[in-house]
């Protein structure tokens, strides 16, 4: 039986998070606004209006292009893509065609193995074949037999970015989107929320016998609104193509639509001929010139990229890949880690553990981002250092993380004001131990019959009596000698 390999390319539309639209000063984000409220003569395509390019959108696209290792053209052009649709008010979309902002580019995509521990089993280079700026169209809704149009989205800046046919499985496609989303948020150019349409994805899928070099006709899957949906839809489509080919049918270049509710692909249309968009240079805009000074100024704001930082954390701080992956999940968290490590004089891994266990839990419990924390890296380091020096015990340290965040006070201050320092006075602890044993003669008797597991319970009682400030090791030692 023939073995097939899937060939997948992704076409993404990335909505740039500029304040205003790409060719007018209307507010770009209309998520919370009623239809047709963020519109003006320009984005409505009234007679006589002209576009004026929002430079911020260019700058954000420059950051993305550079992050994708693409080359920024010093001279690029806008073009008109002509087609009729009611939510396209000018009857053409201002886009870039043969001389777009960026050229080439790739992403070296780490593909995790199946252990679930984020360890990389191999890396695949995903080429970028297209990266350009364009304006979004409006939204059409069919409701009660009427076609309703919301023009709010018209003119929202988009980057269209298309990969080569370089992905080889539905999981790889999902990984690409996960890494792209991480990158977009990291460099701060898009909220990249697929559910809100900030990151939209169409998938091109074909199959070929393993070892073949040619490309077969592909189908295009539209309307996939989450990473899970992309994975599911591609999986289904690969299965279908293998099934069809197996029964001797040819795969035709269809456009398919993913029905998320039913988990089904539906045929939208055959795609025998390419539409003719009659591209020509947009005469209403000047050629886009990006000189060295502008480029340098913009790219100076480009941070270290997530995958680079991930690798550096592994190399520089000796972290397991699993830790490095989680700590570089988002930029703020990775900055938190790095600042903490730099302020701390001990093991990097210890800081990593504290962040991965305690800080992340707190972020989750409070539903906040690392940037919103009151707790600063220096606070975390102070807590860890107090434990290292025996000033407080570990459980006090863990509770301090929450207390600092809750009370908006520094850890040292809290230890003082709440009297949290570890009790090291052996006499006091011995007295507490004695008291516990005196109060619980029954348990003492049971212990002495050989139920040694009760030791933990005794320690707990003593800790409670000392408000958790005693050193549990010392408590245990004293109890053991008393119970002998």
């Amino acid at each position: 039986m023939t073995q097939y390999e899937p060939i997948i390319g992704l076409e993404t539309h990335i909505r740039l998070n500029t304040q205003s639209k790409i060719f007018c000063s209307c507010k770009a984000d209309s998520w919370y606004d009623p239809p047709n409220t963020n519109i003006c003569p320009v984005c409505m395509g009234l007679p006589g209006v002209l576009p004026v390019l929002n430079e911020k959108s260019v700058e954000k696209a420059m950051l993305l292009a550079t992050a994708m290792q693409a080359e920024i053209r010093p001279l690029s052009y806008f073009d008109r893509k002509n087609y009729f649709y009611p939510d396209l008010p000018k009857g053409y979309q201002i886009s870039q065609y043969d001389m777009p902002l960026a050229k080439g580019g790739y992403l070296d995509l780490p593909i995790p193995d199946s252990s679930g521990l984020s360890t990389t089993s191999y890396t695949r280079r995903i080429g970028i074949t297209k990266l350009h700026l364009e304006e979004d169209a409006g939204k059409t809704k069919n409701e009660s037999g009427q076609r309703q149009i919301d023009f709010n989205r018209c003119g929202v800046p988009l980057v269209e970015m298309v990969t080569g046919p370089d992905l080889r499985s539905a999981d790889e496609a999902a990984q690409y989107l996960i890494r792209l989303r991480q990158l977009l948020r990291w460099i701060g150019i898009s909220e990249a929320d697929m559910e809100k349409g900030h990151l939209r994805c169409d998938a091109n899928v074909s199959i070929r016998p393993v070892g073949a070099e040619y490309l077969n006709p592909k189908t295009e899957i539209k309307n996939v609104n989450s990473i899970e949906a992309v994975r599911d839809a591609i999986t289904k489509e690969i299965e279908r193509q293998i099934r069809e080919t197996g029964s001797g049918h040819k795969i035709e270049a269809w456009t398919l639509e993913w029905d998320e509710d039913r988990g089904l692909l539906k045929k939208m249309r055959s795609k025998e001929t390419e539409a003719d968009y009659r591209y020509f240079r947009e005469p209403d805009l000047l050629p886009l010139r990006i000189d060295a000074v502008w480029k340098e100024k913009v790219l100076a704001t480009l941070p270290e990229l997530p995958l680079q930082r991930r690798q550096r954390f592994i190399d520089e701080y000796n972290l397991p890949e699993y830790d490095a992956d989680i700590l570089t999940g988002e930029r703020g968290l990775s900055d938190f880690f790095e600042s903490s490590v730099k302020a701390y004089h001990g093991e990097s891994k210890k800081v990593s553990n504290w962040i991965m266990n305690d800080v992340l839990r707190m972020l989750k419990d409070r539903s906040i981002q690392s940037e919103q924390l009151f707790l600063q890296p220096t606070d975390l380091v102070e807590i860890i250092t107090m434990i290292d020096k025996g000033v407080i015990n570990t459980s006090t340290g863990k509770s301090l993380i929450d207390k600092v965040e809750q009370a908006h006070k520094k850890p040292g201050e809290l230890v003082k004001s709440e009297n949290l320092a570890k009790v090291n006075d052996e006499g006091a602890i011995l007295a507490a131990c004695k008291a516990v044993l005196d109060e619980n003669p029954g348990e003492v008797a049971t212990y002495k019959t050989g139920k040694l597991t009760l030791m933990g319970w005794f320690v707990g009682q003593v800790m409670r009596k000392t408000q958790g400030k005693a050193d549990p090791g010392m408590v245990k030692g004293l109890l053991e000698s008393l119970l002998k």
Binding site: P41, M44, G45, L46, P47, G48, V49, L50, P51, V52, L53, R80, N82, F84, P86, P89, K90, G91, Y92, R147, I149, D276, R278, F280, P283, D284, L285, L286
Partner: protein, 528 residues
């Protein structure tokens, strides 16, 4: 002579000196309109009467209330001692291709007949801010597609004030007719292939196409976006200079509007032409038609009285000390119209896409359940023949399989035309001209119905004006004489980018030198 016949600069001086009020000037202009204009163009005109044939019909709409409000605002400012602006009290007509807030902005098309603009075009804004009185919207060829005004959906269309059997030219024919007839002192037109200069020539007035980008296009309903230039029309050169100074300059709403300082064009008029190098090109004294069947060109010399008018102007310049350079080669002139046919139509077809009946303008009545049918019917019913022809041709020559042999080729021809000008204006080149002197049009105004319907012939009326649009350079048409048929003949001056001040000073020198020539005292028929 009445108030409305005075030059704009004189009107604004008198208004500022309180010799006359803006409201009085307005009354004078409205009276003149009443007297000569006849009924305004409309979509459902009935039959054209003999009375109609004697009138000018320059306007589609007259915005009396708006003009009155502007006049009283000017008068109030003057009473309060505030500066009323350089165009205080000057009556102005606006080609109905510009959006003016709160007015119907129709492009002389049924598809926009009911479009009331929510915003005002930049050059109109500037005219209003300078104290100008906007009388109303001047008629034009539908979407500016023509050279006679006959293609307007709003009938009756403008007639030539010098002889109402003749066309005023186009597409800014309503503008030039209104100025020639004294209805307006100034008019704002647009020039895509000669649409200001050709009707200015036909109507015996001054019209200037500035450098591409000198005047903002914001609010100008686009025809050929890379060719369109708003520009001034007036009865004398000084008024054109005055108006250009107001409307020119960069605009945050138009990134193709040049960020180049605006000269004081009025002050520049006083420069004399001594030592200026003015060229004459044999390529501008003939009309060349391609003959597709034999893949060759046919040539026809321009009529003698037009030739003589230009030669006479050259003689005047020579007498004033200019250097006349003859035999300047402009070899690509003959390709201007074919290249224009392609480029302008590709842009026009795309610019017309937005008129789809969805958002504004005409939509076919009745409920339809199919979107494509709605598009087809709305556009089919409301576009006249000229937009339809341009859409058909524009879509054809930009289609993927033809674009290389038509559109891309036309762009190359356009570059060659630009090179012709670069060579003759290059200060270090063999000609280093200050200006090229040419006829504006190959003929005086033709009779109504004589050419209309022959799109190709109509287009060749622009052969001598269109090269400036391809090249983006400025050009001005000024009255040069009167033909044997009693119709005005214009002469054209072309110059390098942003040489408006220079062109205006040369034009002004000619105007001054010919003040006493007998043809200067002949008045348009409708004013006799």
């Amino acid at each position: 002579m009445e108030l409305c016949d005075l030059p704009a600069f004189q009107i604004s001086e008198m208004v500022r000196r309180r010799e006359v009020s803006a409201s009085e000037v307005l009354d004078s202009a409205l009276n003149r309109i009443q007297l000569v204009d006849g009924r305004q163009g409309c979509l459902d005109p009935g039959s054209i009467t003999d009375e109609d044939r004697k009138k000018v019909h320059a306007f589609i709409s007259i915005t009396t209330d708006k003009a009155r409000a502007q006049a009283s605002a000017v008068d109030k400012k003057i009473a309060a001692g505030e500066p009323p602006g350089a165009l205080a009290g000057v009556p102005i007509s606006i080609k109905d291709i510009f959006c003016v807030r709160g007015t119907n902005s129709t492009a002389a098309s049924k598809i926009l007949a009911n479009f009331n603009s929510p915003y005002t075009a930049t050059p109109v804004n500037r005219l209003e801010a300078a104290g100008g009185l906007v009388l109303g919207k001047a008629n034009l060829d539908e979407f500016t597609y023509g050279s006679s005004n006959e293609s307007s959906a709003f009938q009756p269309t403008p007639r030539n004030p010098w002889n109402t059997k003749h066309v005023p030219g186009g597409s800014s024919g309503g503008c030039t007719a209104s100025v020639a007839a004294g209805e307006a002192a100034l008019s704002l037109g647009t020039d895509t292939a000669g649409s200001i200069r050709q009707p200015a020539s036909f109507c015996g007035v001054v019209g200037m196409k500035p450098t591409y980008g000198r005047v903002s296009r914001y609010g100008l309903i686009a025809f050929g976006s890379s060719l369109d230039c708003p520009g001034p029309v007036a009865r004398n050169v000084k008024d054109v200079a005055l108006m250009l100074r107001i409307i020119a300059g960069s605009d945050p709403h138009d990134s193709t509007a040049a960020v180049v300082p605006v000269d004081d064009y009025v002050a520049a008029l006083e420069k004399n032409v001594k030592g200026k190098r003015i060229g004459l090109s044999p390529d501008y004294f003939k009309i060349t038609y391609p003959v597709p069947a034999s893949d060759s060109f046919q040539q026809q010399a321009i009529p003698q009285d037009i030739d003589q008018t230009v030669q006479h102007a050259a003689e005047i310049f020579r007498q004033m000390g200019a250097e006349i350079v003859e035999g300047v080669p402009m070899p690509n002139t003959r390709n201007g119209i074919p290249a224009y046919f392609v480029i302008s139509r590709v842009e026009a077809a795309s610019n017309l896409h937005r008129y789809d009946g969805v958002k504004y303008g005409y939509r076919t009545p009745g409920e339809l359940d199919d979107l494509r049918t709605m598009y087809r019917k709305s556009r089919g019913e409301a576009f006249g023949p000229q937009p339809k022809l341009r859409i058909l041709m524009g879509m054809y020559v930009s289609a993927a399989q033809y674009s290389e042999q038509y559109y891309m080729r036309a762009l190359k021809v356009r570059s060659l035309i630009r090179q012709d000008f670069d060579r003759i204006f290059d200060p270090a080149g063999p000609y280093h001209l200050d200006a090229l002197l040419t006829p504006t049009t190959p003929t005086p105004a033709f009779e109504m119905d004589a050419v209309y319907g022959d799109s190709v012939m109509m287009q060749y009326a622009d052969q001598l004006t269109v090269p400036a649009n391809h090249a983006g350079i400025p050009g001005i048409s000024i009255p040069g004489g009167i033909s044997s048929s009693g119709l005005p003949v214009g002469i054209q001056l072309l110059g390098p980018d942003f040489s408006e001040a220079n062109l205006l000073s040369i034009a002004h020198a000619f105007e001054t030198a010919t003040t006493n020539e007998p043809w200067r005292s002949v008045k348009p028929q409708v004013l006799q």
